[in-house]
Amino acid sequence: MQFNIQDLIQTMPLVMLLVTGLLLMLSDAFNLRSLLPWLAGLGLTASLVLALPLQPGDQAIVPVYNNMFLTGGLASFVHIALCLGALFSLFFIQDFFQRAGKVVDEIYAILVFSVIGMIMLANSNDLAVTFIGLETMSICLYVMAALLKTRQSSNEAGLKYFLLGSFATGFLLFGMSMLYGITGTTQFTLMSQTDMSGNILFLPAVLFILIGFLFKVSAFPFHNWTPDVYQGTPTPLAGFMATASKTASFIALGMFLHQTMPVLDEKIFWILVGSAVISMVYGNIVAARQTNLKRLLAYSSIAHTGYVLLGLASGKEGFIAVIFYAFIYTIMNVGAFGLIGMNEIEEEDAEVSRWNGIGLRKPWFGVAMSVFLFSLAGIPPLAGFMSKYQVFFAAVRSELYVAAIIGVLASVVGAYYYIRVIVNMYFTKSETETSHALPSCAMSPTIGVFVLAALTLALGIFPSPVYTWIESLFQGSGMLAMAGF
């Protein structure tokens, strides 16, 4: 193995993040407290800019470090999307912890390190890198969940997430070791060249890895932790957790499955579809019975996972739709969680009843929340409609008619609970006047809300640029074409 300066240049965006993370820790030590959010934002932006394709033709994936890691093309897009997810969340973090009365300076370093983990996970071409990325991401997420030390629910969330997450990682690691044992390699691309059809261990190996991922994306039947963890996690971070980490896991799962199996194994395919269908139905029905907004969004995220899994089972078109979906979902869900965080000082503020009449007390607040909720419900012309439409459309084209119809039906039923929140915001009088001045009107989260709401609307009306960008990354003959795309 040789060190290649070209590889280092290719991974500059990631190195940038690493430097940012270290700088953040150092600044913390030197008591440069007020600089932290700015530094984090600057570092993420710089990394994002570095990852931007230099010329329009820059669409091919470049494997680096002996084919262990991917850069360029689709990998760059994923990098950008994940940095954006962190940047969006950054708008809400400082204000939230200030109001919660906690000074948690380490969060910025943790946030940046978790993004590094996500990028490694999503852009890996090697089981070892996948695992390191996954663990880097997960450990940061466990810490995030437990960050509000004074709240019991936060401690509980951290511990629960950690214990169950470790349990799931155990399966993942077991699967990986089996796969290595069968194929003698840890590289995805080399695995696809080995003929494994006769091997009895192959299917269980892939299945165990799949289970590890299904846990991370909270798909049925590995979804149980989701509501408890999201409820306990500091709200803006729950939004980040629900979006960026899932985006990374979905892309990693898609790349893994398609690269190791150019033709998706039939049983794995049906497990994906089955999990997708049950997640959609289960998530939507149970979400309808929730009275806590964070739990409601947690169950809704199980349902959304179902839609995305359906896309993953629908071939290349489905995978394009999945990436688009994850991007849109990041925008609208970070926005929704951000708003909940803005209206929260104590834990009970996330109860739907605390939101009664808020749309009339604070008009722009209500409008923004309605935009995110309508978008999550999939109502045109908001972005959530087009992304959902594309996923179902891909499923229909892959002849998954029944699953697609169940999905459309589930999402129609699902609209009910999003609308119920709007009913509370506009059509219900608040019974108890809260003593504290909520929601927060601090500058940074307000700007964040406007940016995200504007993006939700804009990407609903003009989805083409982003979608065709993703689509163009799959064109031509490169790694993706070899992987069955």
Binding site: Q152, E156, L159, K160, L163, L164, F167, F171, L203, P204, L207, I211, F215, P221, F222, N224, D228, K267, W270, I271, Y282, I285, V286, A288, R289, I320, P363, W364, V367, F374, I379, P380, P381, F385, M386, Q390, F392, F393, V396, R397, A404, I405, V408, L409, V412, A415, Y416, I419, R420, V423, Y426, F427, T428, K429, I461, F462, S464, Y467, T468, E471
Partner: protein, 643 residues
């Protein structure tokens, strides 16, 4: 002029944006009623002028289209924000923007001093924007955008006066009922795109099984939006919204979009006679059911709401018979007289409210003799009542007679149509009866509100739109003279404007009856309407409110059923809503808890000893979650290896 056409779509949107953004950030703007009203009204009048201009200079068979930008363009799927003004969409466009303008003007006076004045006009402008997308879009996805948009606006306007929970629930009911229809439309769109590769109306051509499923799904979608059995229940509840909204959205425009959609897809429907019969039968059943309920209601808006459901049923009968352009004709005449009736009822409610003497300003039992105080409202209301009852030569006579005539002629195709025709005839009698009843009890007869009350006629901003609509309700029918006059050459709508030879947008089934039959049918229609009105008038002028007792004894125990709306709401509650709640409460929610608890208790030892580690946890659910995960792993592994 052509360059200005995009403004038909954009102008209401810009109006909404100005009012919305300005109102959101400036609280002083919110009280400038004149400014808000003017902006909102101009934003709708402008599209009306543009549509009217296109209509007047229109050349047959040469649709005018315009394109805003591409919505989605991928390799396999592309759809544009492009619009087409053809024979069908121009006609609907005129109705929507024309009546929309009148109702905007009326609302300025009606909503005077309302707290949420700016919100109201914001929704109203957004509604017109969505409705224009719905009718002018040249493909199904833009139509769907409008379809969802009008649903959302209607939802916000129904719950507009949110003070009491019942209204919020009504809004939610409307939304859910509409979503069921939306589901059907989405699935239909998927099927259409996979089989034809396009969502453009002009490129849709289906056959065989595909046509059957698409037709069925589109029909289900239409039953949601256009309030037919089994999804009609939301419309009567939707009357919780402000009355001008009921006139615009829940009578003249939005509720007819299902009919418009089916008419646009007439070619698909004509290939599946089975679905056509279903459409006619459902229309007939809805018409008579709603008419029966309307007889026993005492809330002026409820009567009008059920009457709308019933008239929509007539339109579906026409669609089912294959007389698509006749259905559009009835959409138009109905828009005139029903908008007038609703606005009239708004004027009445306004007057009753301002007396501050009665508990319920919508109850006709506390009205009576209002005609003396409100001459304009009374006269226009009576004109529209006679029109909807089908009195010659008002507009309702022509459209309703044409529907019944076409149904009778379709009897050659299938006997079922004769039955539907008979149901239509009975419904026509009932319509004449209950409309006369409600109008009489409101404006004539004895004065039933307290003596000291002096209701006032509404302001000219409200009465002028009433007179315009009443005028249209009188003359609108002449656009569709019956076939007996000059062999149909003077039926402008069916034979000229929407005729197949000139514009193949809407294709009708060819239905002809011989001249004698036509004359007989016209004669029956004529007598039925006159008879119904005369009977109700004489009954109620003789006994006043007591006449209801006669009606009651005539219907016997049926009356109680009619009064309670055939217990349909109760039935849905028991058959659908409660099981759904039950499923959530008792089957799925405790699934995690009970099921896992049982497992834990059963296989206890291992998990419990591990439990001591987690004692600090409040609920100790971790072990259970882990166990469920483990079961999941075992099941999946079992499937992978043995399945």
């Amino acid at each position: 002029m052509e360059a200005l056409l995009p403004l038909i779509i954009l102008s209401p949107f810009i109006g909404a944006a100005i009012i919305g953004i300005w109102g959101l950030f400036s609280s002083s703007f919110r009280h400038q009623e004149k400014l808000i009203g003017t902006i909102a009204t101009l934003a709708v009048v402008l599209p009306f002028v543009l549509v009217l201009n296109t209509f007047l200079s229109y050349e047959h068979g040469k649709p005018v289209s315009f394109h805003l930008f591409s919505w989605m363009a991928t390799k396999n799927f592309s759809v544009d924000f492009s619009y087409v003004l053809d024979e069908a969409s121009l006609l609907m466009g005129l109705i929507v923007t024309g009546i929309g303008s009148l109702i905007h003007i009326y609302s300025i006076a009606y909503m005077h001093h309302d707290k949420g004045f700016y919100r109201y006009f914001l929704y109203l402008n957004l509604f017109i924007f969505s409705m224009n997308n719905l009718i002018l879009g040249d493909n199904l996805l833009v139509l769907f955008l409008g379809w969802e948009g009008v649903g959302a606006c209607s939802y916000f306007l129904i719950g507009y006066w949110f003070e009491d929970m019942a209204k919020a629930m009504a809004a939610q009911k409307a939304f859910v009922a509409n979503r069921i229809g939306d589901f059907a439309l989405l699935v239909a769109m998927f099927i259409i795109f996979t089989s034809t590769g396009s969502l453009k109306f002009s490129e849709i051509s289906l056959s065989g099984d595909v046509a059957f499923w698409v037709a069925l799904l589109v029909f289900i979608a239409a039953t949601g939006k256009s309030a037919q059995i089994p999804l009609y229940v939301w419309l009567p509840d939707a009357m919780a919204g402000p009355t001008p909204v009921s006139a615009l959205i829940h009578a003249a425009t939005m509720v007819t979009s299902g009919i418009y959609l089916i008419a646009r897809m007439s070619e698909v429907f004509l290939q599946v006679p089975g679905v056509m019969i279903l459409v006619a039968v459902i229309g007939g059943l809805t018409a008579i059911l709603a008419a029966l309920i309307a007889i026993a209601q005492n809330d002026i808006k409820k009567v009008l709401a059920y009457s709308t459901v019933s008239q929509l049923g007539f339109m579906f009968m026409a669609l089912g018979a294959g007389a698509f352009s006749t259905a559009i004709f009835h959409v138009m005449t109905h828009a005139f007289f029903k908008a007038c009736l609703f606005l009239g009822s708004g004027s009445v409610i306004h007057a009753m409210e301002h007396m501050h003497l009665v508990d319920d300003p919508q109850d006709i039992r506390t009205m009576g003799k209002l005609g003396k105080y409100m001459p304009s409202t009374s006269k226009t209301f009576w004109i529209s009542t006679l029109a909807i009852a089908g009195i010659f030569p008002l507009s309702g006579f022509f459209s309703k007679d044409e529907i019944l005539g076409k149904l009778f002629a379709a009897g050659h195709e299938h006997v079922m149509y004769y039955a539907v025709w008979a149901v239509g005839m009975i419904t026509a009698v009932l319509t004449a009866f209950y409309m006369t009843r409600v109008t009489f009890l409101t404006f004539n007869g004895k004065k039933r509100f307290p003596e000291e009350g002096h209701p006032h006629e509404s302001s000219p901003l409200m009465t002028i739109p009433l007179w315009i609509l009443a005028g249209l309700a009188i003359v609108g029918g002449f656009l569709g003279l019956p076939a007996v006059v000059g062999h149909g050459h003077y039926n402008w709508i069916s034979e000229h404007w929407l005729s197949i030879s000139k514009a193949p947008i809407i294709v009708n089934r060819i239905l002809h009856a011989d001249l004698t039959t036509e004359w007989i049918l016209i004669g029956i229609s004529f007598c039925v309407a006159i008879g119904g009105v005369y009977f109700a008038y004489s009954l109620y002028s003789k006994y006043d409110l007591q006449a209801d007792l006669k009606v009651k004894s005539f219907f016997g125990s049926m009356y109680r059923v009619m009064e309670n709306k055939f217990f349909i709401d109760e039935f849905y509650n028991a058959a659908i809503i409660r099981p759904f709640v039950w499923l959530g409460n008792y089957a799925i929610m405790p699934f995690d808890k009970k099921f896992i608890d049982g497992l834990v208790n059963g296989s206890g030892y291992l998990v419990y000893s591990a439990g001591s580690v987690f004692r600090q946890l409040q609920s100790g659910l971790v072990q259970k979650y882990a166990l469920l995960m483990f079961i999941g792993v075992v099941v999946l592994l079992g499937y992978a290896i043995f399945g």
